[in-house]
Subunit: 132 residues, 2 copies
């Protein structure tokens, strides 16, 4: 409850944390089929409704779902936008890792230059030694 400055970094933490729980991922899977109320979402699990309500709160804080109002019910809706945030983050490092893998021999060849931090990022990592 200490959320005043919503940084994108914090949001990623919230999203990944939210999806780290199997039950919450399952809830997301159900919501992909269609909106559902808290009671409906809680039905398949052997936990109390309050527990599921908390889980939904976590998903909501992460921006993965939203809640509207229908009489006493609070239909939960899956939000697509946040997935893009994750995909972007993942793709960045996946591509980097794959690129380094496929270009391994070329990189090793280029590494002989003792010039850190300019055109060859891998060299900077390699030459790092006397850092505080």
């Amino acid at each position: 409850m200490t959320q005043e400055g919503p940084m994108p970094q914090d949001r990623l933490t919230l999203v990944f944390s939210a999806l780290a729980d199997p039950t919450r991922r399952d809830i997301v899977a159900r919501l992909a089929v269609g909106d559902a109320t808290v009671n409906q979402l809680a039905a398949p699990y052997d936990v109390t409704v309050q527990a599921v309500s908390k889980q939904i709160k976590v998903l909501e804080d992460a921006g993965l779902v939203s809640r509207s109002r229908d009489a006493q019910r609070r239909p939960v809706h899956l939000e697509a936008g946040v997935f893009d945030l994750m995909t972007k983050w993942i793709e960045r490092y996946r591509q980097a890792a794959e690129e380094r893998f496929t270009r391994l021999d070329a990189v090793l060849d280029q590494l002989d230059r003792p010039q850190p931090g300019s055109a060859e990022p891998a060299a900077a990592q390699r030459e790092q030694g006397a850092a505080s």
Copy 2:
């Protein structure tokens, strides 16, 4: 080596949990540039080396990184494969959510609801079985 993949579900939990921590995501970012030793990875943070060693263990258990051997050092290497697992999971539900969004009017027509959006999305109230 535990090659017995219990379930892709469990692996997803490990991966999401691993990336839920900002420090571990930062470590992944550094490893995208190039392999690094534990000491190098621990340098920027004000925590002990042991703590970072634990973090790397978490990343390793999730399959995000691997460790080789170079004298006393254990260079940490970013593994690209696991990112595909996440991307697949995310894309699945992102597409579902977006599809439901773009088909909203058709759905509303089917539901016989003259009220768009937040009024009464309660038609999803039908008995839903175990999806997916």
